[in-house]
């Protein structure tokens, strides 16, 4: 790539990040490094390390991050491999269904899982009915084995990220690679280890990096289990604390540094470009059609994962239909009135409009920026590109609340980011920017993986035929990495629609609320608050599920990603 263009893009992106990420983040986290007379100090950071409670919190967070990533891999990799290698009945539908975890709405998701797994919840009711549990001594699942419970829930929530990235990577593989190994005597199992896995590494790394940082900084799932000795919960707790304690900000800074380090190390080890010199794979994919029992077996595996991952969703749906759901497997009385009440609330229609606007705007920005950034990282040779890569990933590691408060303070009248607030205090531009900054990593990671796997010669061919940089991009590169981009954009859009922190803090006026804040609002209604919020949550789930299915169908044929 043109060196000048690469430097230009890097400078531009760095400037954007400096203004819209680093500045707000530092304005908040900076508290941890300043004495009141403005001098720089590492005392607060030191105090965090000296305090065994915070040390343990960091350690637990790291452990959760690593364990969750491995568990996520254990789910995602076999699934994507099965979908890639075998054609079985229902593969298309199941391939989309298992992306369900993506669409769990906030707040009510935790409530939903508690209705399923709580002391008097669904699961226990079922076990009691089956006689497997004593009615007077129900097991408190959420209080036991909390660490592994969190790992399991994280894995079941995050595997779509890894699944989508690995699938994209596999679909870019030249089937001849595996066939050559097979031909030389490599059994399918060994082939996996020696050939498939190494060649799919770019995709695996792309997804795993996101999964790790997410699990490392995950707040909601530990709270479901009331597991508070973990850094993200300590940060959240500390920030909302009225005592003005600087410790949480120091903790955030430490979390950031650790995330950046882990990312850099794993990228050096696993994220290298491995293929790219190969010509594009020819037609026949070496897919095996599975029929009968074996095909059924595959479908069952997918179905099983889907059912497990959909437990919280089932909880939310049942909650939204219930009058009073207690001690029974499903609510005894079902009603639709919560839907009428919730969807009829005057805040809902504007919130839908707002969410769509904010999320689409952010995804569009991320698509454009993401492609440019991935380009620099993969195709250029400038020195700073690894730093650019790490910089772009950082937003994932900063707790949403921290950034939200930073944006809040900086967007007040008279402050630098106030220009993002429109007429009548419309925060649309601010929210789009905030969403875009935090979703950018998904698109960048996917685009990077795609470019790493595609052959630069294909682009060079286009250039030699007279196509300028943009036309090459549009006609050659983008179609080539289409599957990867689709994966990244789907993730970015879905997560933007379900975003919490910025939405709560920055959308001040009701007419600007996105859906997540509307759910939060309904939650506080007296009496049926939980059920109303669940009803709106279900609506959001259905909407996103349809949108994602549509996107999958759009991409499927060309990109080989979902094989719909």
């Amino acid at each position: 790539m043109n060196r000048g263009a690469a430097i230009g893009i890097t400078a531009f992106v760095t400037a954007l990040f400096a203004a819209f990420f680093i500045y707000p983040a530092i304005s908040v986290i900076g508290e941890a490094f300043k004495t009141p007379d403005g001098k720089f100090t590492l005392d607060f950071v030191g105090d965090v390390f000296r305090n065994p409670v915070y040390r343990e919190g960091l350690w637990n967070a790291l452990a959760l991050g690593v364990a969750s990533t491995l568990a996520t891999f254990a789910i995602a990799f076999p699934l994507s491999l099965l979908a890639y290698r075998y054609d079985f009945r229902g593969r298309g539908v199941l391939g989309v269904l298992i992306l369900i975890p993506l669409v769990l709405p906030p707040f009510v998701g935790a409530i939903g899982i508690k209705h399923m797994l709580g002391v008097q919840g669904s699961l226990n009711a079922l076990l009691i009915d089956l006689g497997a549990m004593n009615r007077n001594a129900p097991v408190d699942w959420l209080a036991r084995g909390r660490f592994w419970g969190i790992v399991a829930m994280n894995a079941l929530h995050l595997y779509p990220i890894l699944y989508m990235n690995i699938s994209a990577a596999l679909s870019n593989l030249d089937p001849a690679m595996e066939q050559a190994a097979e031909n030389l005597g490599c059994s399918p199992a060994r082939r996996l280890w020696r050939i498939t896995l190494p060649l799919a590494m770019p995709g695996i790394f792309a997804g795993a990096a996101i999964v790790f940082v997410w699990a490392f900084t995950e707040l909601g799932v530990p709270l479901v289990f009331d597991y508070t000795r973990v850094a993200p919960v300590q940060v959240f707790d500390g920030i909302k604390d009225l005592t003005g304690n600087p410790a949480p900000y120091a903790l955030v800074a430490i979390i950031l540094v650790i995330s950046a380090l882990v990312f850099a190390i794993t990228k050096a080890l696993f994220g290298r470009q491995t293929s790219g010199a190969q010509p594009r794979p020819k037609g026949r994919g070496g897919e095996v059609k599975l029929t009968g029992l074996r095909g059924l077996g595959c479908a069952i595996i997918f179905g099983f994962v889907f059912l497990l991952a959909a437990l919280p969703h089932a909880g939310v749906v049942l909650l939204s239909l219930s009058e009073d759901w207690y001690k029974t497997v499903t609510p005894v009385v079902l009603t639709f009135r919560h839907y009428v009440d919730a969807l009829g609330s005057e805040i809902v229609v504007p919130s839908i409009k707002n969410s769509l606007l904010y999320a689409s705007g952010a995804t569009l920005i991320d698509l454009i920026l993401g492609i440019a950034i991935a380009w620099v990282i993969v195709r250029s040779k400038i020195k700073g590109r690894s730093l650019l890569d790490a910089l772009v990933m950082l937003p994932l590691a900063v707790p949403g609340l921290v950034l939200a408060f930073g944006y809040l303070a900086l967007s007040e009248p008279g402050r630098p980011l106030n220009f993002l607030i429109g007429k009548d205090g419309n925060p649309a531009a601010l929210l789009i920017v905030a969403y875009a900054v935090r979703r950018l990593p998904y698109v960048v990671r996917s685009a990077v993986a795609g470019l790493q796997q595609s052959n630069p010669a294909l682009e060079e061919a286009a250039r030699s035929l007279g196509a300028g940089a943009f036309r090459t991009l549009r006609r050659v590169s983008l179609p080539l990495i289409g599957a990867n981009l689709a994966a990244g954009c789907i993730l970015a859009f879905a997560f933007a629609m379900l975003e919490v922190s910025d939405s709560l803090i920055l959308a001040k006026q009701t007419e600007h609320f996105p859906i997540t804040k509307a759910i939060y609002t309904l939650l506080s209604s007296l009496g049926d608050g939980h059920e109303l919020a669940a009803a709106l949550g279900v609506w959001a789930m259905v909407f996103l599920a349809i949108a994602i299915t549509g996107a999958a169908a759009l991409v499927g044929k060309r990109g080989g990603l979902f094989r719909v």
């Binding site: 690679m177 050559a180 097979e182 059994s187 060649l199 293929s275 190969q278 070496g286």
Partner: protein, 355 residues
């Protein structure tokens, strides 16, 4: 080394029939070619032998063993892919050593055999290079070495030379044949390049639309084509329409627009009936120019000529259509013009084919 037998292989992909009942027998130690145009099914057949495709019906035998249901990694039929399929995350040495590692050969032995294989393909000392640092020809040779080093029961080659330049191609043809013969390997080679087939094959099968049109040695196929397709596919030929008049033993007299012509019936078990429409195949080099006597005389006018030094090519307009004519070591360059030109062709050089 094993003999390979493919028995009535049918392979369908959805609605498309790629192979329509194909049977071949390759003797042990033979270098056998599958020749045909794109889409004729030759690669599919090769992949069936390799086990990368499963035939819809039919059987594959290695020696006496029916290997049809045997998975590819157990067949010991090493393949050289058209795209080479070298693994980018492994260097040359690791690529070549791969099959030996799978066979649990011990490290020292691996090192030795890899060295030998690289030497065989003239790539000694390149073991630690990365794949992306190699030229096309070098990559092809690594792919070859990788397949050879495991001493397979048979060697399968899928258009291995199609990505190379002409000079390299010719050199590699010799090398491959030498290596295969010296090693006593049974080889099945797929190509669309008939020159390659003619120069390297012990025997070949010409495929067309999923069927074998003709099977035989190079000479067989060239001099005794069974069908118009085969005669047209291998080398150049002139096709002339006619009607059978009379058959006498191996020869038949055919009524053509230039009068009666006599040719040889090449296709076994077929005797043209009197009055049956037939096609005559007369190769450009079969036409003798301006000879006073000779069989099958016709007369025409030169409309075009190409002087190529070693030979001269004429296009001659005759009553039976425009004929390509080739003369080796021409002493005289005839120009296009009105002067009539007498052409003759020996009976045995004219093939009589079914229309």
């Amino acid at each position: 080394m094993d003999a390979i037998r493919a028995d009535s292989i049918v392979k369908k992909f959805g609605q498309v029939t790629a192979l329509d009942g194909v049977s071949v027998e390759v003797a042990a130690g033979e270098l056998f070619f599958l020749l045909g145009a794109s889409g004729c099914g030759k690669t599919t057949l090769l992949r069936c032998i390799a086990g990368l495709e499963t035939p819809t019906s039919g059987h594959i035998f290695f020696g006496d063993r029916d290997v049809t249901q045997l998975p590819p990694h157990k067949r010991e039929a090493a393949m050289v892919f058209q795209s080479y399929a070298l693994w980018p995350h492994l260097n040359v040495e690791r690529n070549v050593a791969f099959g030996l590692e799978e066979r649990k050969v011990d490290k020292a032995e691996i090192r030795r055999r890899v060295g030998e294989a690289l030497e065989l393909v003239h790539l000694s000392g390149m073991g630690d290079r990365g794949i992306d640092q190699l030229s096309g020809g070098q990559q092809q040779r690594v792919a070859l070495a990788r397949a050879l080093v495991v001493r397979p029961k048979c060697l399968l080659l899928d258009e291995p030379l199609s990505n190379l330049d002409a000079k390299l191609r010719i050199e590699m043809r010799r090398e491959i044949r030498r290596i295969v013969k010296e090693g006593g390997l049974t080889g099945v080679y797929v190509t669309h390049d008939q020159e390659e087939a003619l120069s390297m094959a012990d025997r070949m099968a010409v495929l067309n639309k999923g069927r074998i049109e003709q099977l035989g040695t190079a000479e067989d196929v060239y001099r005794n084509p069974h069908t118009a397709f085969v005669s047209g596919f291998i080398g150049e030929t002139n096709l002339v329409k006619g009607k059978a008049l009379e058959v006498r033993g191996e020869f038949a007299m055919i009524e053509s627009a230039a009068g009666p012509l006599v040719g040889r019936v090449t296709r076994p078990e077929w005797v043209p009936a009197a009055g049956e429409e037939v096609i005559l195949s007369i190769r450009p080099e079969a036409w003798r120019v301006d000879s006073q006597s000779g069989e099958n005389p016709i007369t025409g006018k030169i409309i075009e000529r190409s002087y190529l030094g070693q030979r001269i090519q004429y296009l001659v307009d005759t009553p039976v259509g425009i004929q390509q004519v080739v003369e080796l070591n021409p002493h005289l360059v005839r120009e296009p013009g009105e002067t009539p030109l007498r052409l003759t062709a020996r009976h045995s050089d004219v093939a009589v084919l079914q229309a």
